[in-house]
Amino acid sequence: MSAAREALWQQLRGAGLVRGELPAQGEPRAPWYVRVMLGVAGWIGAVFLFFFVGAAFTFVMRSGAAALVVGLAACAGAAAIFRASRGEFAAQFALAVSLAGQAILVYGIAELLGHPSLRITALVVAVQQAVLFLVVPNFLHRVFTSWSALIALQFALTDYGLSAFAPALATAACAAIWLGEFDHAERAELLRSGGYGTALAAVQIAVIQGPLWYGLLLRHPRPGTQAIAWAGAAASAAVFLWMVGALLRREAVALGSEAGKRAIAGAVLLAALALKAPGIAPALVILIAGHANGNRVLAGLGIAALVAYLSYYYYSLEATLLEKSAVLAVTGIVLLAARLVLRKTLSA
């Protein structure tokens, strides 16, 4: 194990990027699944704490102002614990307190605004979560706040009838963060946590559409118009093309070069598919970003998103099964043909 580490260090030293001896193994980062497990457990704890506050301080639940104060205190307290301590118990406790505090805050704000419409509440939640994302310096917490901010935005957009644009918005945010990961190394933790949060939100938004939430939560089906649905799909495809272009620029690949032309051709093909099946765009963006940054977890998430979207596509009502099968089969054949062309022109 350390032989590989030593070899890596020597490589970097040879390139003049580091000096001195290989540093001792610091505190290793826990693998992603351990963090997920801790997050799930934190959730369960937060639910219990939320019920505790609700049961113990019924006045909190009756007055919007009291809920606001308690919620703010909880979030502020959690932030303080995160900054002060690095212990495992403290981190888990602070996570649970913060999650419960966020829920109480949302409740308080909604009460104070006099039960506003869904769009106002959702926008307020989005802003609240964005602020918490910037202020509270814990990785898991930041993944949650960035994810929930985008989901809240999806709710707001759905209430305006613009839910078709939510995937494009989430995908653009995710792509922008991951493309810039290496340019802002000082803010690495912030960017990475935001990247994962927005990626999860993008996958969810692509697979579980806005109107579905609407129908589930409020029993008020509000599908957007055909034109808006088409515009939303076009926006997703456009975000995908933009991401490929930005990636080519980052890797200093000229658009007119061989590699550049191949990439653009492939991207245009896939973007055309995304027009008919808009959920493909977020999945591909995540997959490509993961590969470009050497991030295997992210790439795996992209593959999972592709498969999940295909399952959703079966049930979606935008087109008949016949049309969908034709789209899939034709696109699949075109992709395979493109691959053959690629191999021929490469070996030639």
Partner: protein, 322 residues
Amino acid sequence: MRAGGRVHPRNEILGWVQEGRIAARELRKALEVGGALPSAGAWRQFLDRLLLFMGVLLVGAGVVFFLAYNWRELGRFAKFGLVELPLLGALAVLWRLGLDRPAGKATLLLAALLAGALLALVGQTYQTGADTFELFAAWAAAIVPWALVGRFPALWVLWLALVNLAVSLYFQAFHGFLGVALGPERQMWVLLAVNGTALIAWEITAGLRSRWAQRLVATGVAAIVTALAVVAIFDPRSTAWANSLAWLGWAAATYAAYRRLVQDLFMLALGALSVIVVSATFVAKLIELREPGSFLFMGLFVIALSAAAGYWLRRIAAREHT
């Protein structure tokens, strides 16, 4: 023996930047030198593989969707031809390519999906009166030889998914009316047996190479056995001891296997989460959540358990690295 304990240049370099050993503005260059970012060749291979698997996946899905549309206007021969021709084509391609290349494995996967489509078509056309679960059971049986020959995880995962579907649909068809309490639990036991055996067989034969399939199956096993334990806590009957015994046995086996024999932190994390859920359920049932104080206690209990689990897992990860 260690599983998944390789050094990842990307994580190491990111860690060193955070410690200040590498200048922040040199991060990109360091990643390139360390081989963490894909080279031009890697990109070409990526594009190649992406087009291949997406193409195969989309074509297969297209055929399945098409059949589901149930196009009555097509005559019997046309329908069968539309499925059998791609299937034969896939087999022919397979003959030419062989099973070692990724293209060959992708074709085998496509052929397996088409075989299912063919069976569905047969059942639908000839009105055999078969239940849905029989379709999936037949599909699973049909592709066993291919899975044995192909020997790659994705195909085995498809096969296992089909077996699981067949079992679930069987119970839905035959035990749905025998009472809610009895049907689902027996189904869970059968699924546990099926997936548990698959996991053990997988671990014995496959070894340490790519572990995603084993981890996927293990997640299913963990979910089922945890559900059984939770059911036993809420519904104490004479058979509840069997559930608890199964859960304890599974927890002990997971610890022994994945801590002593093969180091796989993912499995241990699964076990830890299951322990948290089951013990929280047990304690919650014991103290009978009524007053506010009991909620606070439960919250702190869960947090403390998860903190302990996190500490334990990180300790093991640290020991794995040295």
